[in-house]
């Protein structure tokens, strides 16, 4: 946005070296704003490394509630000499930069159009802390104190947060409180604090929480009744299983025996992780695996197996930058087509596209219900931006009347009344046949095989019998359309331009629509939430002359899928593609739309 910062509308970026413990200081700063009632979002740009490489954290505060990446920096805290030059250049004209003035800067590194504040962070810490580690860590807390003075933050809020965080660590609490005061007082004495724009107490965060998508998805799996989790560590999905495990340790211990009402297996690789999920699904448990793009590549063989043998399974693909190893700590939405058709042969998978941590939580529930109802693997496509960044979301709520949809499962009592059971026979006309679970009843026994099978489950190489099964699978895909979540649509008849988008683009798209609306350009919006697409997506396309398809990959994967699966005049669809690894931003979308419209006028 070209707009200037104002009260409660600004972005702070902290440039640091990874491994120096800045995460908790940055979290403290963001949460203080949140506790003051100001909507915030935190974006962490971190390296695929443990210690020593550059890392950035960006906090955007927006009273208006625009919580995509802002794309402009009003306050830069430049803690990393290595990236100083670039960090200096990134500050918006009129903005501020804070650096550690303990050591001199290169005289050439200066700018006339911003204000530069030197704060002797290291010196202050060296004077006040004796422990070497504390001297490094506390520099981060001191800059929070500096920002608190500059933005006139409520010190009671910060103090309360520290009390909560370090309730059981008195020495750390004292050190943190001291560091905040040091920074605050230094800024009050030596700098022009407060700045012309500040943080004012507001009320826009009541009923909200700050959470990342992986934590929300892990919690969702607990609530959805998942009992088996198998996984292989891979960035950026690892924290999903960490969260599931953490919640299970608190919420899933049998109160009487102390035993675990869950089983988590760290597999030897992704091939095994998906095998375990399918084995558990086959045996009747709700089972899942979190992974990322490279994991999906490895799991593809088994995904085809799960599709053909009709075994429920839930996968979370927290997407990162591809291809190959790509950039493991950067975000992208580039696994859409890979997931839709993962595996050889005629294979297609049900996909869900959450757009926020809140939707990750509810997607977990939906994914398990769909997987069991449709007896097939379901992949939830989140991404690094949603999965690992802190988003502001509506407080999560659970309907205590909810019961899992286990789909068509015949248990011992049902089988006792039956003479024969045929695994793949469509009795109800919805192309979904009943399944049975091992060990329940002799009548329910059948043989699961990835080789050609007929509707009785028996091996076949017969042309007709084989085709009968794969045709029913295609028909089941049609059934799936009535079960998957419908798109989110914002539609006004007077608008003939629309945006179709997906997942984590949502905040940026909404902000772009808001800004363009102020300029008099009305745009409708549809966000797909699932594959297969249902009828509403077709209607939306039919009802517009021009549609911008906004997504975060190079090859317009969502657009390709729309053209492949729906009736689309592809001239109507204009690609807006953001794929450099950073989350997309409103200004990028606005510029793309303006350029396209200008091109139309010129022609």
């Amino acid at each position: 946005m070209k707009t200037k910062p104002s009260n409660n509308e600004f972005t702070i970026k902290i440039a640091n070296v990874n491994g120096t413990g800045s995460a908790s200081a940055n979290g403290l700063l963001m949460k203080s704003l949140f506790r003051m009632g100001i909507p915030v979002v935190g974006k962490n740009y971190f390296p695929s490394n443990i210690q020593g490489l550059p890392t950035w954290y960006e906090i955007r505060a927006s009273e208006k509630g625009h919580l995509a990446r802002s794309g402009r920096i009003d306050i830069m805290i430049a803690m990393n000499a290595e990236t100083y030059k670039k960090d200096l250049a990134d500050v918006a004209p009129g903005g501020y930069l804070i650096y550690d003035s303990t050591w001199p800067r290169h005289s050439l590194l200066n700018r006339d159009d911003i204000t530069i504040f030197g704060v002797p962070l290291s010196k202050l810490c060296n004077e006040n802390f004796s422990n070497a580690r504390a001297r490094i860590l506390m520099k981060n807390v001191v800059y929070v104190g500096v920002v608190a003075a500059l933005l006139d933050l409520d010190l009671d809020v910060i103090s309360q947060l520290l009390n909560e965080t370090f309730a059981k660590k008195a020495s750390l609490l004292e050190a943190n409180q001291l560091a905040i005061r040091m920074g605050y007082e230094y800024a009050k004495t030596h700098l022009e604090a407060p700045l012309p724009f500040t943080a004012k107490t507001s009320n826009k965060t009541d009923g909200y929480i700050i959470i990342d998508g992986n934590t929300a998805a892990g919690l969702g799996c607990v609530y959805a009744g998942a009992t088996v989790g198998a996984w292989y560590p891979i960035t950026p999905s690892t924290s999903l299983m960490d969260a599931f495990k953490g919640f299970c340790e608190k919420l899933r211990k049998d109160p009487e025996t102390g035993e675990n009402n869950y089983c988590i297996v760290q597999a030897e690789d992704e091939l095994a992780a998906i095998g375990m999920v399918l084995g558990a699904g086959w045996a009747g448990a709700r089972a899942f695996t979190p992974t990322s793009g490279p994991g999906i590549s490895l799991m593809s063989e088994f995904l085809g197996y799960g599709y053909f043998t009709e075994i429920p399974a839930v996968l979370f693909n927290v997407q990162r930058c591809g291809p190959s190893t790509g950039m493991p700590t950067r975000t992208q939405q580039s696994d859409i087509t890979a997931c839709a058709f993962a595996s050889h042969g005629d294979t297609r998978h049900v996909l869900l596209f959450p757009a926020s941590p809140e939707e990750c939580f509810y997607s977990a529930r939906d994914a398990f219900d769909l997987a069991e109802r449709l007896q097939t693997p379901v992949i939830v496509l989140s991404d690094l931006d949603i999965g690992m960044n802190d988003w502001m979301c509506k407080t999560l709520a659970w309907d205590d009347k909810y019961q899992p949809d286990r789909g068509k499962v015949l248990r011992a009592a049902d089988l006792e009344k039956m003479e024969v059971f045929h695994r793949y026979k469509d009795v109800d006309g919805d192309a979904i046949a009943a399944r049975t679970l091992p060990g329940d009843h002799p009548t329910g026994a059948y043989f699961t095989r990835g080789s050609g099978h007929n509707l009785y489950g028996a091996y076949t190489e017969d042309a007709g019998e084989y085709q009968q099964v794969v045709d029913r699978l295609r028909q089941k895909w049609e059934t799936a359309k009535s079960y998957v979540p419908k798109p989110v649509v914002e539609y006004q008849e007077k608008n003939n331009i629309g945006i179709i988008s997906i997942g984590s683009c949502d905040e940026a798209v909404r902000e772009a629509i808001y800004e363009l609306g102020k300029e008099g350009l009305g745009i409708n919006y549809l966000r797909v939430r699932a594959f297969p697409f249902n009828g509403q997506v077709q209607d939306f396309i039919d009802n517009h002359d021009k549609l911008y398809v906004v997504e975060q990959n190079r090859d317009a994967q969502l657009k390709s899928l729309l053209c492949l699966e729906l009736h689309v005049d592809d001239e109507k669809l204009v690609e807006i593609l953001h794929y450099n690894g950073l989350p997309t931003k409103a200004s990028f979308i606005i510029d793309a739309i303006n350029q396209d419209l200008a091109k139309g006028e010129a022609a």
Partner: protein
């Protein structure tokens, strides 16, 4: 043809087990393997073992990978669920199924191609987990379904049907298993049912990972002169070291054993294995000497068979995980969903 039912003709005097069932009740579909295939003998040994243990016919889960051996779960225990998974991946599917329902008897059937090449990783790790299952490798040293390529179990110098000699060292599944954490390791021969059936029974009762490597000659591609996995070669170099007699729980030990040669091993869930030492130098309860013994017999071109290693004291995957006794898949939803009140409390830390 695996769905073809065998004729339900029963001899009226067929013996019955404790459940009143005959051995025919434990059979499966017709085999489609070559006549004389060692695998079919193993299938019938499995049928006999299950029958003798008097386990209800539907309380097994049969899992396999891909290959000739992996077809066999269709040929036994027709009342139990079976799953022919993908090549080399059966251990992971078995792990998942066992996670979901720990109460079943898991039988994995694999081959030397399925376990020792594409599936070596999963084979290794399922043993590290000490998953409670019986894992049978039907070992013929050759890829049958793709017509006679060497497998990783082929011995150095063993020749193919065309006459080429294998020059790469073999992987011995038993040595691998003992090294990697299996707690019940045996070798047998498809042609020695007397040895194999009690081993399978004991393996099924063992709490933890029971690996049985069964030399099972491929009559079509690896039963010629020059092959070290032929019927003839196996019989010539066969060296039974430890015989194991399985005595089910609540049965009296009737057979007599000479003092000093019989070691009773109490199974975790009841029952006893009586180990009879044919080779006095062999101690199947000592991991290091078991491996040493196997390595020297390999050098001597002996096929040492019997219960090669047993450790009943190690915890299995569920014990290590502290999983509840109720199969997870049968936990009522009310027991796994903490409810909205708890959800509201959980979120305090996110405000």
């Amino acid at each position: 043809m695996s769905f073809m039912k065998r004729p339900a003709v029963r001899h009226p005097k067929l013996p019955v087990n404790d459940l009143g069932l005959t051995v025919r009740d434990y059979e499966g579909g017709m085999s489609t393997l070559c006549a004389g295939c060692g695998h079919d003998s193993i299938t019938s040994a499995l049928v006999e073992a299950a029958f003798k243990l008097s386990i209800p016919t539907h309380r097994f889960a049969k899992l396999s990978g891909i290959g000739c051996s992996s077809k066999t779960p269709a040929y036994f225990l027709r009342d139990s669920h079976g799953m022919n998974s993908t090549h080399g991946r059966m251990p992971s599917v078995a792990t998942g199924a066992n996670s979901a329902d720990r109460s079943l008897y898991y039988i994995g059937v694999s081959g030397d191609g399925d376990s020792l090449s594409i599936g070596m990783g999963q084979f290794a790790h399922v043993m590290r987990r000490n998953l409670n299952m019986l894992y049978v490798i039907e070992n013929n040293g050759v890829y049958g379904l793709t017509k006679g390529q060497f497998s990783a179990a082929a011995d150095v110098g063993s020749t193919s049907k065309k006459g080429d000699a294998n020059m790469q060292p073999p992987i011995d599944p038993c040595q691998a298993a003992i090294t990697l954490g299996a707690t019940f390791v045996a070798r047998s021969f498809s042609g020695d049912k007397e040895q194999l059936v009690p081993l399978l029974m004991a393996g099924l009762q063992h709490r933890g990972f029971a690996m049985i490597d069964v030399i099972s000659p491929c009559v079509t591609f690896n039963d010629h002169e020059g092959s070290t996995k032929s019927y003839e070669y196996t019989r010539e170099h066969y060296h039974p070291a430890i015989m194991a007699d399985f005595v089910p729980p609540a049965k009296e030990i009737l057979a007599r054993y000479d003092e000093g040669e019989a070691i009773p091993v109490q199974m975790h869930d009841g029952g006893t294995i009586i180990l009879r030492k044919l080779d006095k130098s062999y101690d199947p309860t000592n991991r290091i000497s078991a491996i040493t013994n196997l390595m020297s017999s390999q050098t001597a071109k002996e096929i040492t068979t019997g219960l090669l290693y047993i450790d009943e004291s190690q915890p299995d995957m569920h014990e290590l995980n502290n999983t509840c006794q109720t199969p997870l898949r049968d936990l009522p939803y009310s027991k796994v969903c903490p409810g909205n009140d708890v959800l509201q409390k959980v979120q305090a830390r996110y405000r």
